[in-house]
């Protein structure tokens, strides 16, 4: 009851509920009536032996040994003063006299109570000159700031501003200094010499006061010991944002957000510090208000409802998430209602989306000439002049609307919102609509010792997508890329004007317009998740917590491809339709104990936690073909020809994953400047092999607040300087699908045996009972600083991360294996990098802030080892083809992942066949992985990424710009390769450049298709204005205009050099290979935010 408050603020009003003040009141009553004599004090003898102890410690010791209780005001006593005392069996008066002799502290003993106070000399003066000040506190936009602290400097006298940002405070004198603070804002001080004073606060650019969300808790930015990037709502990208990741694109060093095309409903991928796994475990863990999930969890929350995003980058920060933390963690905090305030807010945006670039294909006239000179019969020329790309594209529209409201009291707070996001894509018949309703409420109970936080998020997403894989054999890609391949002389319709044109002379002719018009590909994704968090204060500093969350998704996709679509598959099957149902249940529960305590200069914060998670995936699929009419599409599958039902037309699946974890973490802070964090997590996961279910993931990190040292106190240049170092071990198991370690027997079509057709079965997987998590060991060294009155701020981080026991589908020889790959932990790869973020306030005053900000990261990836053994037998897996279909891409020891090991283009021989360099001159072009004719020509992984993000605010006007780029990598241009061979000119169009190249055909994929992928993109330009009203109903209106993807500077000849780099290695992922993407749009967006009173 007598600890010195570590709160740098003051005594809040809430403090009145504190037991100490209640005691004081009681005590005064007792003292007034003086019922009891000081018998206890007279009788009790005290023995003390303390050296160089703080007063606080002395008081504590006395309280422990006796029944005496001290009562005092914090500011009256210098608790940090050290004394040495040695007394034996002394009366309390003697002891107190020794302790406080020579100080200003007076003491009084009333029975067991000891009251300490300052001499009351000043009291009269204070009474005399008391001054009352009132006013309004506003934020940088001139909007009232409720909840700001206003207090008298050097006292605990203070209050919080009300809903309208108003305050009224009575201070000791007109000379008193009044301090105004608000989290995230620079504090302001003024003298209480006027009765009415209005104060405007500005955001604190140093961010060091910010609260940072870390795993299973929060901490102040100044106490962070790991590499954590935090982006608050006010710093996020603006415009027609449909996915939360777009909010933070370019905002954090080492966090690469990669949007491939602008297909409605498709989200970007994100890589934190590169690709550290080879089987798809490089997606970071997403934690939304404590709910853990995969990247798709992000798509189910409205971007406008996000308060802040914190990204845990290094292992000392992520190890707390153990075997889910290896790829980094994205922590999302959604908006909640500010204490007691009531709000109604509308946020909306609309954008118009265009296609910025098209490939240069031959025009109708050019094609006719080229075809004729390449021996294409005249019958292949149908004489039309069709802009196939134009026919299949349109101007897109994106809209987003959110209405949110909230309110409450000190005990109850809630916030609710409704969001609608609608996208009509630039390719015809592609759209996405998303509706999300959220409720969040916090209730306090048990005399404020219990806090219940409830979250419920319910979303429905419907989308209409273009067909993902379509095309003649060898030319399969997405639909829009097929438009490029169309001969420009083919008409869209037959002469009757309604039948889609097809050329019966060609094998598998596809009319992409017919496919776009006739394909039905609708999906609906229901997404429900909720959580309940209960925190109970058990005792001072000790809190018990329970958290439970459940996410339930249900996705239904209906697909119908009629014969009229011209798709060969549909034609072959007489049209087909199917319905896919996929259900996911993700449950999580944790129980925790946290303990926070400050002992003088020592401060600890400890956490112990048990967590249980289960993710269940199940679903089914139904298909029918041979429909008499297309009217019912997939809605009446029973109308199909049931005699044509085949194996796999009816199927279902179910699998799950269970994790159990024990977590312990401790933070220790000494003198507010030496910080140590250590954590350990023990994780068990069901997906691992029987021999290796459990793993341990420790971490430790330290930080040194150098500016808090006394030797720094005499300089003014450096405002903040913090050195961080951390090491941690994390794992990856999420990339591993359930049942990956077992030998399984799976159905494999039908066979004929014993006189009838029966279901066939095969061993579908090579087992590996030793299968376990990947182990990523990461070391991080960081420096945070603020100079020149905090105008120049920055962070440096260097890291090295080595992933061992690399999970991968290693190629095994056939024979003896029935399948050509096995999941195993064999190799290791290393990522190293340097990240720099800088911000500089060029201008910073009341009216204007002009900040230049940017970040750059350099990274280097290397495959350290790919050789190992399975069951004691050496596996040589070096030179493994990798990349999900990208040709000539390999994993090679000593090279980055995704290295192009490729034949060198030489020329074209007399018959138009491409020739390549026979490097070893043996007359044979060896196309083997280790061929001496191949040469290493770079990797698909960028070696640097950067973003430049200047922003300007002048009074109520603001503007910002985001320029982003990356480089040092190559793209294999499959689109070019596919559209360049002149042998295809009879059936498809080719690029202008194909005529110059003159390659008729090629048995190789040479480096002629390899291109530099470096680029700079003007990703976002936003200008906005805030109108502030003194109105009864309206508080403010913000209008803004955003341009997206306004220009792109690159040497890449394809549509866009930003192609898939997510490293999942799944089939048709085409890592670093461009096989045709949905266009990336250029857009102009108009945004509005209205705040009501």
């Amino acid at each position: 009851m007598k600890k010195k408050s570590k709160n740098t603020g003051f005594l809040y009003r809430v403090f009145q509920n504190d037991l100490k003040l209640k005691l004081t009141t009681l005590l005064i009553l007792v003292a007034m009536f003086s019922i009891r004599g000081n018998t206890y004090a007279q009788k009790t003898k005290v023995t003390l032996e303390l050296n160089n102890s703080t007063i606080e410690k002395v008081i504590e010791t006395i309280e422990q040994k006796t029944d005496f209780r001290f009562i005092y005001k914090l500011n009256d006593i210098d608790l940090d003063r050290t004394v040495s005392i040695s007394v034996k069996d002394q009366n309390i008066y003697v002891v107190l006299d020794r302790i406080f002799k020579g100080t200003q502290t007076e003491f009084k003993v009333r029975d067991t109570q000891i009251i300490l106070k300052k001499p009351e000399i000043k009291t009269h003066v204070i009474e005399f000159e008391k001054q009352t000040v009132m006013g309004t506190i506003t934020d940088e936009n001139g909007l009232p700031l409720p909840g700001a602290s206003v207090f008298e400097q050097g006292t605990k006298n203070g209050i919080i501003t009300d809903f309208d940002g108003k305050f009224k405070i009575t201070v000791e004198s007109s000379q008193s200094v009044i301090v105004v603070t608000f989290v995230g804002y620079t504090e302001k001080k003024f003298t209480a010499d006027q009765k009415v004073i209005n104060v405007q606060l500005f955001p604190d650019a140093t961010n060091l006061q910010e609260i940072v969300v870390v795993g299973y808790g929060t901490t102040a930015r100044k106490d962070v010991t790991g590499a954590v990037s935090s982006i608050a709502a006010k710093d996020m990208n603006q415009g027609a944002i449909v996915n939360p990741l777009q909010l933070i694109s370019g905002k954090a060093a080492g966090v690469n957000i990669n949007q491939i095309g602008s297909e409605p409903g498709s989200g970007p991928s994100v890589r934190i510090r590169g690709v550290s796994s080879l089987i798809g475990g490089s997606d970071p863990l997403v934690v939304v208000d404590g709910i853990q999930g995969n990247l798709d969890l992000l798509t189910s929350i409205p971007p406008t409802e996000i308060e802040s995003i914190d990204i845990l980058k290094d292992a000392s920060a992520t190890a707390i998430y153990g075997s889910r933390g290896a790829a980094g963690v994205i922590l999302v905090t959604t908006k909640s209602n500010k204490n007691g305030k009531s709000t109604i807010e509308y946020v909306g945006s609309t954008s118009i989306d265009f296609i910025p670039k098209k490939l240069n294909m031959l025009s109708a006239a050019e094609w006719s000439a080229a075809a004729a000179s390449n021996g294409v019969p005249a019958s292949s020329n149908h004489g039309a002049d069709t802009d196939w790309y134009g026919v299949l594209t349109q101007t897109g529209f994106t809209q987003s609307h959110t209405l949110s409201f909230g309110g409450g009291t000190n005990k109850l707070n809630y916030r609710a919102s409704l969001t609608a996001i609608s996208q009509d894509g630039v390719v015809i018949n592609s759209s996405n609509k998303k509706y999300i309703a959220r409720v969040q409420a916090t209730q306090k109970g048990l005399d404020d010792k219990l806090k219940l936080t409830f979250n419920l998020n319910n979303g429905v997403e419907t989308s209409t997508r273009t067909i993902a894989d379509v095309g003649r054999s060898g030319q399969v890609s997405n639909l829009i890329s097929q438009a490029y391949l169309m001969r420009p002389t083919d008409p869209v319709f037959d002469t009757d004007g309604k039948t889609y044109f097809t050329d019966p002379g060609l094998f598998q002719y596809i009319n992409p317009y017919a496919v776009a018009e006739k394909t039905i590909n609708d999906s609906q994704w229901d997404n429900l998740f909720g959580s309940l968090k209960a925190d109970l204060d058990l005792a001072e500093g000790l809190q018990a917590g329970w958290f439970g969350s459940w996410r339930k998704t249900n996705k239904t996709t209906g697909f119908y491809l009629p014969v009229s679509s011209t798709d060969p598959g549909a034609v072959r099957q007489d049209g087909f339709g199917n319905i896919t149902n996929e259900r996911q249940n993700e449950k999580l529960m944790d129980i925790s104990l946290t303990y926070k305590k400050t002992f003088g200069v020592h401060s600890i914060n400890a956490l112990a936690l048990y967590e249980w998670q289960n993710q269940t995936y199940e679903g089914n699929f139904l298909q029918a073909r041979g429909f008499i009419s297309d009217v019912t599409s997939y809605n009446a599958l029973q109308y199909g020809d049931m005699s044509k039902v085949i194996y796999n037309d009816i199927r279902s699946y179910k699998n799950d994953r269970t994790l159990a974890s024990f977590v312990a973490r401790a933070n220790y802070t000494l003198l507010d400047r030496y910080l140590v964090t250590a954590s350990i997590r023990r994780d068990g996961s069901s997906v691992f092999g029987a021999n290796n279910k459990w793993g341990n993931f420790p971490s430790a990190s330290v930080a040194w607040q150098i500016t808090k040292e006394s030797f720094m106190s005499n300089q003014t240049l450096i405002n903040e300087l913090k050195l961080r170092a951390g090491y941690g071990v994390t794992g990856n198991q999420q990339g591993l699908s359930p049942q990956g370690s077992l030998s399984l027997v799976d159905g494999a079509g039908s066979t004929y045996f014993g006189g009838s057709q029966i279901t066939n079965f095969n061993i579908s997987q090579n087992p590996n009972a030793d299968l376990k998590w990947e182990t990523k060991k990461q070391t991080n060294l960081g420096l945070d600083f603020a100079l020149l009155d905090s105008r120049l701020r920055g962070t440096f981080d260097v890291y090295t991360a080595t992933t061992d026991n690399l999970l991968f589908n290693y190629t095994v020889p056939q024979p003896p294996y029935p399948k050509s790959d096995i999941k195993a932990n064999v190799g290791s790869i290393r990522n190293e990098g340097l990240e720099v973020s800088l911000g500089y306030d060029v201008i910073r005053n009341e009216n204007t802030t002009f900040t230049l900000a940017g970040n750059v990261s350099f990274m280097r990836n290397e495959v350290l080892n790919l050789s190992g053994s399975i069951n004691g037998i050496a596996l040589n897996t070096d030179y493994v083809a990798w990349g999900g279909g990208t040709p000539n891409m390999y994993l090679i020891k000593g090279q980055p992942i995704g290295t192009f090991n490729i034949l060198e283009h030489e020329g074209v021989n007399a018959s138009g066949v491409e020739t390549v360099v026979d490097r070893n001159g043996d007359g044979i072009i060896d196309q083997g992985a280790r061929s001496p004719d191949r040469v290493i020509k770079g990797s698909a992984l960028p070696t640097y990424t950067f973003a430049f993000n200047p922003s300007l605010r002048y009074k109520n006007f603001d503007a910002s710009l985001l320029l982003r780029g990356s480089g040092g990598n190559k793209v294999y241009n499959l689109v070019n390769q596919r559209s360049s061979y002149l042998e295809n000119i009879g059936k498809s169009n080719v690029l202008d450049s194909a005529l110059d190249k003159g390659i008729r055909t090629s048995p190789y994929g040479s480096d002629i298709w390899l291109e530099d992928a470096s680029f700079i993109r003007l990703e976002n330009v936003t200008a906005g204005y805030n109108f502030v009203f003194k109105d009864r109903f309206l508080e403010s209106i913000r209008l803004s205009l955003t341009g997206n993807n306004l220009f792109l500077i690159t040497d890449y000849t394809g549509i866009d050099p930003e192609i898939n780099l997510n490293g999942s290695n799944s089939d048709n992922a085409y890592f670093g290979g461009d096989r045709g993407i949905y266009p990336r749009t250029r857009s102009v967006a108009f945004g509005v935010i209205v705040k009501f009173k």
């Binding site: 390449n374 021996g375 019969p377 019966p504 002379g505 060609l506 094998f507 598998q508 000790l542 018990a544 072959r572 099957q573 129980i591 104990l593 112990a608 048990y610 005699s643 279902s652 699946y653 179910k654 699998n655 024990f662 068990g684 996961s685 069901s686 077992l742 030998s743 399984l744 027997v745 799976d746 494999a748 079509g749 039908s750 066979t751 004929y752 045996f753 014993g754 006189g755 066939n760 061993i763 190629t811 020889p813 056939q814 024979p815 003896p816 029935p818 050509s820 069951n871 037998i873 493994v880 018959s911 044979i924 083997g928 042998e983 000119i985 009879g986 059936k987 498809s988 055909t1001 048995p1003």
Partner: protein, 497 residues
């Protein structure tokens, strides 16, 4: 004190949860091998899954699969069929390269063939093992072993020295690349030990399976090619094995005219739906899209022509080279399978093909083949015609060949004449020569997967043709696919590649 109590209580609660650590994996939607195969029914399924390997499907799987598998590799490198690149841009040049003996170790066809054969060996090993564990009938174990010998025979025939193993519980270092002779000896001894255990019945539940007669036919085939495979011919042994089959009650199916048949002869029932038991020794049961698929006609016909005949587009792929077509004389019912000239749907096939690769053949160039005239269910993805792996006509010609090779041409004549007579043409004027037999095998067994083997045995494989010159000797064996060499660096590539 209070804090302590809470701490203790809390800790007790916390560690009580240690019980909540059950993370055993439950498999809901798959079977696990031991429990699945460990029953008699499961062991049967293991045997069935070996047969499933023979049925043809997409992705180059199967004995007569759809595109880019064993059948295409072994047929298009011969002289009987090829898919030319078309000057309309259709079809790549990979089939043409195969025909021109210019295949690469990276070619899909070669890779598919290797993977298919070794997966088949794995399945056969599994079946042998599981049937033995389940104490199944000796005839079933023998059947699995004969199947394994069948796949090993195809492997040494195509690839020469190959990795050889019979137990799946083995690591790659224990599977050295075995000499062709070693595997040949294994095949012979395995067949000799097992063929007599096979059932002697035909059809019904044995349709599409190795019975004793199919087993002996395989043995005869192995002996027939012994000279090529090992350098030591075994013509007498071959003849002896053929004689066993000959005692199995087979006869040549009728070649009589049949107005109801689209090809106007009962002969084509041998390539129709359910293959007649009088002549068929071993076949692949086919129901398109369900079990196997037969694409040979749809792949050959021009789009509009196929549409006019069957209502779906043909692929305008495979043609029959002129030289091969000209081996047939008029009046031969076997010539009915070829289409030249004006056809329904506006097609007009020419005898000549001007170019295989650059600029490619004209859209309607080349003779087409409808030997496997599509039976229902059928569609753009193929038809349901069963496929003959072995039939008595093949055996008859093998007996003829052995007799000629053994210097007994007079004994060979009736065999060759029987085949010719059934086809509606006259017998040979004199005793058959090896060339007579070679040509007769070509005419009788075209498009049935035997041609490469025959051409090599008769020393015709390397000879030049309209679209290529003389091939080097090493082309008689295919290269080991690059992917297999990458996965197992201990493998040695065949010479020349």
């Amino acid at each position: 004190m209070k804090i302590k109590n809470i701490l203790i209580a809390g800790s007790v609660c916390f560690f009580a949860l240690v019980g909540c650590t059950n993370i055993d994996e439950t498999v809901y939607d798959k079977y696990q091998p031991d429990e699945f195969y460990g029953t008699p029914k499961g062991a049967d399924i293991a045997l069935a899954s070996v047969y499933a390997q023979i049925g043809g499907n997409w992705d180059g799987v199967g004995y007569a699969g759809a595109d880019l598998g064993w059948y295409d590799l072994n047929s298009m490198c011969a002289d009987e069929q090829v898919i030319p690149h078309r000057n309309t841009g259709d079809w790549g040049t990979d089939f043409a390269r195969t025909y021109q003996h210019d295949w690469l170790p990276t070619d899909t066809m070669i890779n598919n063939t290797w993977n298919w054969l070794y997966k088949s060996v794995f399945n056969a090993n599994l079946a042998v093992n599981q049937l033995e564990l389940a104490g199944a009938d000796a005839s079933k174990i023998a059947e699995a072993k004969v199947l394994r010998a069948f796949f090993y025979y195809l492997l040494i025939d195509d690839f020469g020295n190959i990795p050889f193993y019979t137990d799946n519980n083995i690591t790659v270092d224990k599977i050295p690349q075995a000499n062709r002779q070693v595997v040949f000896d294994f095949i012979v001894s395995e067949l000799k030990a097992n063929v007599d255990l096979l059932p002697t019945g035909k059809g019904g539940e044995l349709y599409g399976r190795f019975n004793k007669w199919a087993g002996y036919t395989l043995l005869a085939k192995v002996y027939l090619n012994a000279g090529v495979l090992t350098g030591t011919p075994k013509w007498a042994e071959c003849l002896a094995a053929c004689n066993v089959v000959d005692g199995g009650g087979f006869s040549l199916h009728s070649g009589a005219e049949d107005a109801a048949n689209p090809l106007k002869s009962k002969y084509y029932e041998l390539f129709g739906d359910v293959l007649p038991q009088d002549e068929t020794i071993l076949s692949i049961y086919t129901t398109v899209d369900v079990v196997s698929r037969n694409i040979f006609t749809v792949r050959s016909l021009y789009g509009a022509h196929c549409r006019a005949l069957f209502g779906y587009d043909g692929w305008n792929g495979t043609i029959v080279p002129k030289e091969f077509y000209l081996k047939y004389q008029d009046g031969d019912v076997r010539k009915n399978q070829f289409l030249v000239g004006q056809q329904p749907g506006g097609a007009n096939y020419t005898l000549d093909v001007t170019s295989l690769d650059d600029p490619g053949a004209g859209a309607q160039e080349g003779v087409r083949n409808i030997k496997f005239y599509p039976v229902a269910p059928r569609g753009g993805g193929g038809a349901s015609n069963d496929f003959p792996i072995y039939r008595y006509a093949d055996l008859v010609l093998m007996m003829a060949e052995c007799n000629v090779r053994l210097g007994n041409a007079g004994a060979a004549k009736p065999f060759v004449d029987a085949i010719r007579t059934r086809a509606g043409i006259s017998g040979l004027a004199g005793n058959p020569t090896l060339d007579d037999i070679y040509d007769e095998r070509g005419r009788e067994l075209n498009w049935e997967g035997h041609r490469r083997e025959d051409m090599i045995r008769f020393d015709k494989f390397l000879l030049p043709n309209q679209f290529r010159g003389l091939s080097p000797e090493y082309r008689k064996i295919f290269p080991i696919p690059t992917s297999a060499l990458n996965a197992n660096p201990a493998l040695k590539q065949n010479p020349g590649y």
